[in-house]
């Protein structure tokens, strides 16, 4: 598909912003300045100053001499840059690929977008009218290349639409400065009498390269469409995104459900064709009043089952606040993974169908949160707390076997609880101990099992574990931290056996 670009030039971006903030400044001559080489230099001037012939680059003192009534304000380039970025993001409703064109322009890749507004002319009109209403003085143009759109927006008639393939004619009469060149090259062109781009096409390329370097040829080629140029979009285009503009603003839950269903069907069909599935997804609604409502879901396993994904989103639809209505729905798969047949075989579940389990877990994660789902694999550590690791995947298999050679309690306390003990002899298990106010008499005991700290992880005294049983048959796991003779060791209860 041949590309189409729309360039927007904000002629007074910084001052228009000031007027929006302080409406009393409208129609007044004022300028924004910044210090440069010890002088105050004009950075931006208001519309009223255009008539006086005052342009950025002049010294503030000179301007004051020409027009004593001028008001001056310090320039704030950071805020202006942010404004430009915000504007670019606002243009996401017109095209998925808006880009910032510093210092005062936007470049939109509008390929395949304009028919939704009924053609390029109404598309352009809609944009310009909305920006004008917002108080911005803009010029815009549509062309086949970024370079041509840029040039015509700035040097051509406002609202020009260059027919596909006609950019060479449109550029012919424009000055060389429309080619986005450095000042030194422009000065040399001026000196040699090149006043129009059309004149350059009559000169052999080798001569141009010798005189002006590669830059001129590149820029010329980019404007004419013979050299490629890449746009740097404000939002990197997500690979898996589906759009659904609404004819009329949608305000009902049912309407949102229908939109979601349609988007999911198209996206899942694409997933099927490409052998992929969604791990996380976002469903956004662009509201009439400019706000964006969004809900996100995550799955345990890449899924391309529209019914299942719909169920996950459905739980969150009530969170969407449509207010005056939603005019555009976007479904985006932010994390996409391959769905392979081998993945299904890894669980080796014999009789059970584990896709159903993954879907159940997605449902659970949607209700109580992904963090509440745990699965553990063994680790080769003796320290009990470090002997298991949590995994987030359902298909990861243990690398080592689960050990059963030493007694381990069925219930392990998250933090060992201190106990008071009565010990007959050092290195003997306690005769009795007190836990939560109860005196527990030890009837049988096994141990000690010494577990040393793993010095490469942490340091400290070793633990001596005892497996003890009281007179009623309750079984406990106790340990002594430290050894007798090396200060007073402390005792802890760490778990309960079955």
């Amino acid at each position: 598909m041949p590309k189409r670009y729309l360039s927007i030039w904000f002629r007074h971006l910084a001052t228009d912003r000031m007027v929006r903030l302080h409406p009393e400044l409208r129609d007044k001559p004022f300028l924004l300045y910044a210090p440069e080489h010890g002088r105050m230099v004009v950075r931006a001037s208001s519309r009223a100053l255009d008539r006086e012939g005052i342009a950025p680059g002049m010294v503030v003192a000179d301007v004051r001499a020409i027009l004593p009534s001028v008001e001056v304000f310090p320039d704030d380039p950071v805020t202006t840059d942010k404004l430009l970025k915000d504007l670019a993001e606002w243009f996401l409703r017109y095209t998925p690929v808006p880009a910032i064109d510093p210092p005062d322009g936007l470049m939109l890749d509008i390929t395949g977008c304009t028919h939704l507004w009924g053609g390029e002319l109404s598309y352009l009109k809609s944009i310009v009218i909305r920006l004008r209403k917002g108080g911005y003085d803009v010029k815009a143009a549509i062309a086949d290349t970024i370079g041509a759109a840029w040039a015509i927006a700035r040097f051509g008639k406002n609202g020009t639409i260059v027919e596909p393939g006609r950019q060479a004619e449109a550029l012919r009469s424009l000055p060389p400065s429309a080619l986005r060149l450095e000042t030194t090259i422009l000065q040399r062109l001026e000196k040699l009498g090149f006043r129009q781009i059309g004149q350059l096409s009559r000169i052999p390329r080798t001569n141009l390269r010798r005189r002006f370097g590669d830059v001129l040829l590149t820029r010329l080629g980019q404007a004419l469409g013979t050299e490629p140029e890449l746009l740097n979009p404000v939002q990197p285009p997500p690979l898996y995104q589906e759009w659904l503009p609404a004819l009329e603003p949608i305000r009902t839950a049912k309407g949102i459900e229908i939109a979601l269903q349609r988007l999911l069907d198209t996206l899942c069909e694409r997933f099927f064709n490409e052998g992929k599935g969604m791990r996380t997804g976002t469903f956004k609604g662009y509201r009439v009043d400019g706000k964006v409502e969004q809900i996100s879901i995550g799955t345990n396993r890449a899924s391309r089952n529209a019914v299942h994904l719909f169920k996950l989103f459905e739980l969150k639809i009530p969170e969407i606040e449509p207010a005056l209505g939603i005019e555009l729905f976007v479904l985006e798969a932010t994390l996409v993974e391959e769905v392979s047949e081998t993945q299904e075989a890894l669980w080796s579940m014999g009789n059970s169908d584990h896709a159903a389990i993954a879907e159940l877990l997605d449902n659970i994660a949607g209700k109580v949160g992904m963090k509440s789902i745990h699965r553990y694999l063994p680790l080769e550590h003796h320290w009990p707390e470090a002997s298991i690791k949590e995994v987030s995947s359902l298909v990861e298999e243990p690398e080592t076997t689960w050990r059963t050679d030493r007694p381990r309690p069925l219930h392990l306390l998250p933090h060992p609880e201190p106990i008071e003990v009565m010990v007959a002899l050092p290195d003997y298990p306690p005769l009795h101990f007190r836990y939560k106010g109860n005196l527990i008499k030890v009837a049988k005991a096994d141990g000690p099992e010494r577990i040393e700290q793993e010095w490469w992880l942490q340091t400290g005294p070793p633990r001596d574990y005892y497996y003890v049983e009281d007179e009623n048959g309750a079984r406990y796991w106790l340990f002594r931290l430290g050894t007798y003779g090396n200060g007073e060791p402390r005792w802890f209860l760490h778990g309960f056996f079955a």
């Binding site: 579940m349 159903a356 050990r403 049988k444």
Partner: protein
Amino acid sequence: MKELAGKKEIIKQLKEKILAMEGFSSGPDSHQFDFNLRPMNAAFPGGTFPVGAVHEFISPTQTSFSATNGFISGLLSTLMKQDGICLWVSSGRRLFPSTLKFFGIEPHRIIFIDVRRDKDALWVMEQALKCNSLAAVVAELRDINFAESRRLQLAVEDSRVTGFLHHYFPRKENTLATVSRWRIKPLPSLVIDGLPGVGFPRWEVELEKIRNGQPGIWQFEWRNGVFRHITVPKRTVPEPGLPQKERHYA
């Protein structure tokens, strides 16, 4: 004579139908699991441990909490033998996954769902019980009412998944719509010839309530990966009055 035999046959079929309606499966799946609870089988309707139903376990103390988890794990190991996956829902989990291996379970085949509230645990359990790809569902929670337990029972009637409802530290021991109610208490283990150490885990298993069955009390030991019935419980409890043997520790 012929008529009488025919009637007997009809009555037998009707009884099976009633059992099925009450939540006990009589299909082939009920006989494929052997839990090694032999002397207990007579207590169960149909002579086998009812799978595809919800069982309630009550444990008022920490020690019975651990013992009950041990007993449930023993049952799970049989249910999961055929490569099953089990969901373990809990509102206050202390289970250490590693130890499940001792009870014949591959701990990585258990998916733990840790929630804060009992209501969430119930919701998860109900959803899970509807998923017939699971071998079993265990839920540990503190409060449940009759209506909620009925929902669980209804869920398993379609899916035939076995559910274990572990009612720990209950605020009140109310009646529930489960097929059974169990109480497991730890018993002192047996050490051979007074040798030092601790023996195999041993429990007193009380089947307090069983629909269409005979409640009773049994003693079991978990030894070498199977339940073992203890016939002479007296040996394990030292008679009062006798002086205890002096202990020696390794």
